[in-house]
Amino acid sequence: MLNEELKLNPKLIPSFLGKEKIEEKPNRDGYGEGLVLAGDENNNVVVLCADLTESTRSLAFAKKYPERFFEVGVAEQNLATIAAGLGVSGKIPFISSYATFSPGRNWEQIRTTIAYNNSNVKIVGAHSGVSVGPDGATHQAIEDIATMRVMANMKVFVPCDSIEAKKVTLAASRIFGPVYFRLARESTPIITTEETPFVPQKADVYWLSKKPQAAIIASGPLLYEALFAAYELEKEGVETLVLNNVSVKPMDEKKIIEVAKKTEAIVTVEEHQVMGGMGGAVAEILAKNYPVPMEFIGMQDVFGESGQPNELIKKYKMSKNNIISAVKKVIKRKK
């Protein structure tokens, strides 16, 4: 059952039952709201954008604080490096573009001038995952978690909904040092509420059955599919727990090891390549501390394509039913 202490959206269960429609919102909207709050709180917050101000939801900040907003044009290398200069001069720059371009195209600039330089820059990758949809694979970032988490000094967050995205944005402005977080284009279910805690480097158990036989560890909007899968599995008599793994780096190692010990089987869920992503990071922790059978839901070494988000999630086997199958498979693999 859902963890009541976390005050999650009360419409979750009714939505699983098909009785009520859950509110949906793109989590980039939460970023836009969080950016204004961060700007209200700290004069040093500045925002840079590369010709995607509205789409990456930087517009509200740009309107409220025009003197602290910089349009760099379609130039992601410049976006990262100007921010690097601001970040070593007492400013807290947020830079946003589509994740395939930033942190895609400007990876080396981010590595040298932000990460190694330890400049206080927050990199925000919008349009992550295949659920970007009709734009196709060129605009669907499915490598960004891997390419960012591999950098020393870099922290990585993957918010599950717009409310959590707002909290991540505000938290990022208060953390000193380089941070990356990813956003999604499409509307996704609101899983949390304003009251739900978000603490960097903490993973919370969102769903817990009495005797969980497997743990589903999810990051990002697919957390909804994971919770839905847990709900259906419980009806079938398969007990699980679901962890919202929003802090990909640093990860809540203690919690990961704890749920591995409790369940002896793990399924990771993310809209990202299975290599090097959040699931890979979980595997690194468990291989070292407490190896258990694992299954990985995500992109299986392929690119996406054009299509509707729900069609793509199904085609690339990241839906509720795929999670259910993976849980059953991983339980069978237990000794």
Binding site: Q77, N78, I82, A83, Q109
Partner: protein
């Protein structure tokens, strides 16, 4: 600002020679590193740290200091030697260049050594970082100026032109770029590898104020830097024409010396030549 009289110029010229000798000693000790650009920029680094910059070597994090951003980080031997001579750290430390546990990394790392403003090495990213620093000065209503020292070869990088456009658009008059126009890069002469000319016209068309000087004429160079401070409408680019390897005859103008150090015999010959020249390393059209 101290008066720039003949005596001061002579002092700077002798200092620049000392710094060249430091560079040779560092490079031969390190066994790797970039000779040509380091020697070619010795006069400009000396002028910057000993006459132009408003800075305090004993207080490298002073918030109002002028910022010097070295974009082409590979010529850091001359940066380190000049900083040590200016009092940022002991001269003895210079021979730790490129060695284990040294603060003098093969390419400059901001967090390793106080006084280094940005991490650099990968080319083409210094100007935009200098822009970020200059923007911060404007936001904070600070008077400090930002100087970006760049190479000509790194103008092959697209990131440079993104930065040039941005600085022109935003009229960053508190930013001065200084281009080491020595016409060489690793694979040969710049105009063969990837032609850059007409550089002055290119910068002007991007809404920059452009000055051209002899990079070995300390007095002319300093005049240009102060002229740039008087331009309120635009950022300024000072194209400084330099001779790679300047001061060591067998290195001068030879692109083969871009990325290699002298061996022991070559270093001894270079040091002998430099000691003999004393304060006589000057531009050839004075």
């Amino acid at each position: 600002m101290l008066q720039l009289d003949d005596k001061k110029i002579e002092y700077l010229e002798i200092l620049a020679n000392q710094i060249r000798q430091d560079v040779i000693k560092m490079l031969v000790e390190a066994g790797s590193g970039h000779s040509a650009g380091s020697l070619g920029m010795a006069d400009i680094f000396t002028a910057m740290y000993f006459h132009v910059l408003n800075h305090d070597p004993k207080n490298p994090f002073w918030p109002d200091r002028d910022r010097l951003v070295l974009s082409n980080g590979h010529i850091c031997p001359v940066l380190y030697a000049t900083m040590a001579r200016a009092g940022y750290f002991p001269l003895e430390e210079l021979t730790t260049l490129r060695k284990i546990n040294s603060r003098l990394q093969g390419h400059p790392h901001r967090e390793s050594l106080p006084g280094i403003e940005t991490t650099s090495g990968p080319l083409g990213s210094g100007l935009s970082q200098a822009i970020g620093i200059a923007l911060a000065a404007k936001l904070d209503h600070k008077k400090y100026r930002t100087y970006c020292l760049m190479s000509d070869g790194e103008h092959d990088e697209g990131n440079v032109w993104e930065a040039v456009m941005f600085a022109g658009k935003n009229r960053l008059s508190n930013l001065t770029a200084i281009l080491d126009r020595n016409n060489i890069q690793i694979d040969g002469f710049t105009e063969n590898v990837m032609p850059l000319e007409p550089l002055k016209a290119k910068y002007e068309s991007f809404n920059w104020h452009v000055l051209e000087v002899d990079g070995h004429n300390i007095s002319d160079f300093i005049d240009a830097v102060f002229e740039a401070q008087a331009i309120f409408e635009k950022p300024t680019m000072i194209i400084a024409h330099t001779i790679p390897g300047k001061g060591v005859s067998f290195m001068e103008r030879d692109y083969a010396w871009h990325g290699i150090p002298p061996n022991k015999e070559q270093a001894a010959a270079a040091l002998k030549e430099l000691r003999t020249l004393g304060g006589k390393i000057k531009s050839e059209h004075e």
